[in-house]
Symmetry: C2
Amino acid sequence: MGSSKMKKSIEVILSPALLKNYELKGKTVVIIDILRATTSICVAFQTGVKKIVPVSTPEESMMFRDFDFLCAAERNAQKVDGFDLGNSPFEYQNPLLKDASIAMTTTNGTKAIKLSKESGAAKIVIGAFLNLQALSDYLIKDNNDVVLLCAGWKDKTNLEDTLYAGAVVKNIKEHFEINCDSALMAETIYQVAENKLEEVVLQSSHAKRFSLLHGNFDDVKFCVQINTLDIIPIMVGEYLVKMNQQ
Amino acid sequence: MGSSKMKKSIEVILSPALLKNYELKGKTVVIIDILRATTSICVAFQTGVKKIVPVSTPEESMMFRDFDFLCAAERNAQKVDGFDLGNSPFEYQNPLLKDASIAMTTTNGTKAIKLSKESGAAKIVIGAFLNLQALSDYLIKDNNDVVLLCAGWKDKTNLEDTLYAGAVVKNIKEHFEINCDSALMAETIYQVAENKLEEVVLQSSHAKRFSLLHGNFDDVKFCVQINTLDIIPIMVGEYLVKMNQQ
């Protein structure tokens, strides 16, 4: 096709509640739940976790214990009682997790993964500020149109996921066609925040919620670190695994 | 209560598809459909239209013809064949509309009005750049919490409605408490666009759509004029009427 070849498209979905208005078939969907699920998933694979199965409920997570999975469950920004793991990236740095399999459910992130799978996404990958550049490079090389799906908070839009979507748009836009107002808006917000990212994210409703519950912003500060990991988690069948990057 | 009195809250809903996650009861809801329904409604009352009934379908609009209503119907940015009026603000400047009653259906705006009514909003008012200051002043004086509802485009978020929500947030925020990431994001986007509003809105997907259909940006340019009208349309029973402002 030469110069007439269509550019790939990029779209941003600001909440899973808006998913039904978009076509995901044949596209690569990036799941974004910066505070904290997709950040923790990236950390888990850095630590050496073998696979993660995203599930809908704490009960479903617990059923995997019989199959030698560790069970992770978070609801309303707190670990559910009786589970091995919650949703803090620091928990997923534990060296004992090397080679572990984990069944994980979180308030927003694992729901977004499952919805994308049900909607027929061709590929589902995991985005966090920690792997921003690695993921951006992958999306440019990949042949598919891209959808950036913000997990939000209980179907509401949120600041930190939108900021991350904007960061990806900024990184890759020259290789894509954008006909999506949400993508333009996300990029604008990121450009304003780029040089004071931690300060801006600390004003988000979830950062405030986290601080009220935990008495600190430690997890929030961890989750806004940029390009500390070269890892891309990807769904293969029912499991998230670490992508083999060339 | 003195200084301990709670400030009123302000929330921004970026698409009608997100409405179910918010409580509207007891609140004043501002309907925002800049291109073009809420702009045209403001113009209609400036011209002297007596009342407007928002309806769901062209068929429903047409049924009002037997009761001496003019019938307005827009779908996909175009007037529906056979109707008296479409959705262009220029049509609503026609002096023959003085004292008219209009039954109106549009792709997004009238749907947002009806959803807000069904959700129990205490008051429903109409926002456009044309009446930005008049509306902002009213929201500050009013006793209710405020919800700014962007009509969007077929349940997707859009740029121009988000920009307007941000303009209202900027105008009134010192009188309100904000615990809503969408409000923070909308205000950020507006601050970036404020001094080049027309240029930014011309990049929106709806401006492009309009231009493809109509061959010009005339309506779009009309709709980004700021503070040209001192009129606030408000729902009273089944009708939009011009608010009596003191």
